[in-house]
Amino acid sequence: MVSRTSGSVKLFWCSLFVAASMARAQEPQLFLIDQRGFGQLGPAPSTQSQPDEADYREELGPLHPLIALRYTPFQAYSDTSYLYDSNILLTDHKPVSDMVLDQVFGASYSPRLFNDLKTTLYYQHYIDRYDSNSAFDFDGDQAGVDLAYTLVKPPIPYHEEQTSSAWTLYGDGSYERLTLTTGDALIYGMADVRIGLRCDYNALLPRWTGILKPIAPFYGYQFDWRVSYPSVLTRADNTGFLGASMDVVRNVYLQVLAQAQWQDYLDVNRSDITETVSASLIWHINKYASLNASALFANNNSSLNAFSYKVLSAGPNVTLQIQF
């Protein structure tokens, strides 16, 4: 009896956790696009001026180094997070908090098929372990293909006319399964088909020093069709998102993201609206490693009150990657 109850709780929790983790898992997709800075040459040079600086500037243009990129379609990565989770059961009724270790191992291959179409095949395995609630531990596997096509390209500095925004159409098809840590029993399976449109543009943020700080805001819309096992969790998601990234200091940048998601469960009479805000401070140690401190708050309002919840998740993350 106990084990049956425990199994039900697991399934209940896992399904909800998966719902939340899906929301969290959207972030990488939203950030898949290269954030490299391009565009008009905006800010004033930051170093000391010289008496006839204007003469110097006019007589010769800026010396702007270029970097050649190597063709390295393969990537292997490891992503380790240790997070505080304020509500691991995702319910407002007696929330339980815990620390969770989330370890992801992954590999991807990005063949060069067509110009302007980014194609990535990927597989990842993840391991989630709880400090105090090990009954909810699970493992997972995910495989899929990402596609991203640039509708409006950003300009090449100096060579092309400025445009105010860049638009990217992206899609993803993936299959994911979660299993118990003992016995490899399937507790959740999902096939996800995703399509989204994202706009990136330029902005300057005033600072107290009076200097304008450049930031890279973005916004977009994403649709997901998630066919799930158990089928009661099959749903269609409509997501609007808004965010920005900016440099803080050398090698450190800040990303903030807000999103609103309407989840329509297709096999049961249920719909949820989830608002999520998150912030990440990322330090790129080198091209193989980065350290990340992130926080996420989600508020879920469900048509079935039992599924409404609030959750805060925060903690450090280490990413290691190699490309070849």
Binding site: I33, D34, Q35, R36, G37, F38, G39, Q40, L41, G42, P43, A44, P45, S46, S49, Q50, E53, D55, Y56, R57, E58, E59, L60, P62, L63, H64, P65, L66, I67, L69, R70, Y71, S110, P111, R112, F114, L117, K118, T150, K153, P154, I156, Y158, H159, S165, A166, T168, D200, N202, I215, A216, F218, S245, M246, D247, R250, Y253, Q255, H284, N286
Partner: protein, 300 residues
């Protein structure tokens, strides 16, 4: 018939032989240069130390040190078609018995025609051997405590024949069009060459566009720009997020602009999915230019 053929070859040889030294690249000394255009103030200092103001059509002899004042530019033409333009606060001189010029300060731009024996450019930090090309040389002074540190930008804007080496003759490196080197005087090793955006450097530069005479290497410069544009377009080249203006002492950065989709299969630089444009690109560039000595990116 054979006699006619022999006479024909003899006449041909007589006509072409005097041209061969130049066509073969045999050096013709840079004995003097004519001031062909002048903006504001220029002077030249003779070997005896006397200094006189220069005017258009003055002939400058070898060993004279040519100097420009603030807000000034000058153009000098050598008999073999070699062209030199100087920016403000610049000085250079040349050796009459050889094809060697010395850049002492400021900005110097050279056009060296093909088949004239090339040119040896002696700057503070590097020596360049060039032919059939356009070269930009900038001398930069940076106060470093009580001393002054000198850097040299040596940039091959167009052309295919250029090599640079340390003043002591060690560590040779070849440059291709659109590549340059940013070298600290006194460094024991040569910084590796890096690519730069030729259009950014030249398009609105008065040293190229502010004179009556169109720059002789303009067509070749445009060809390099077109080639770089194609490489930028298909993602083989990307801009770093920083650039240098002025005499290389002012450093600017590209703002955090909207992103660029990754190029399928191309290497994802570490800054790609993160948005950290500046620091990591500097990191990348440090790796390119060699981190074992102060690099240009460390100039702030």
């Amino acid at each position: 018939m054979n006699r006619w053929r022999g006479s024909f070859f003899l006449v041909g040889a007589l006509i072409t032989f005097p041209l061969l030294p130049a066509a073969n690249g045999s050096p013709t000394a840079l004995e003097s240069a004519t001031v062909s255009e002048l903006k504001n103030e220029m002077s030249y200092q003779a070997a005896d130390g006397s200094e006189r103001a220069a005017k258009v059509e003055d002939v400058v002899q070898g060993r004279d040190v040519v100097k420009t004042g603030g807000g000034s530019m000058a153009e000098l033409e050598f008999p073999d078609g070699t062209l030199t333009r100087l920016g403000s606060h610049s000085a250079f001189t040349f050796a009459p018995e050889s094809r060697e010029v010395q850049t002492r300060s400021g900005l110097s731009v050279f056009f060296i025609p093909k088949g004239m024996g090339g040119l040896r450019i002696v700057s503070r930090a590097v020596v360049g051997a060039v032919e059939g090309c356009t070269v930009v040389v900038e001398e930069i002074e940076r106060p470093q405590g009580a001393n002054t540190q000198h850097w040299t930008k040596f940039l091959l804007v167009e052309g295919s024949r250029a090599s640079v080496l340390l003043p002591n003759g060690k560590h040779t490196s070849s440059l291709r069009a659109g590549q340059g080197i940013f070298q600290r005087e006194g460094a024991s090793t040569l910084s590796p060459p890096f690519d730069f955006d030729v259009k950014a450097l030249t398009e609105n530069a008065t040293i190229f566009t502010g004179f009556h005479r169109p720059w002789p290497g303009l067509d070749d410069i445009n060809a390099v720009i077109e080639k770089q544009f194609r490489a930028l377009k298909d993602g083989r080249l990307v801009h770093t997020s920083f650039y240098w203006t002025g005499r290389g002492t002012q450093q600017g950065t590209l703002p955090a602009q909207f992103p660029v989709p990754e190029v399928p299969g191309m290497q994802t630089p570490p800054y790609n999915d993160s948005g950290s444009r500046d620091g990591l690109l500097l990191y990348e560039f440090d790796n390119i230019t060699g981190a074992n000595q102060p690099t240009p990116s460390s100039i702030k």
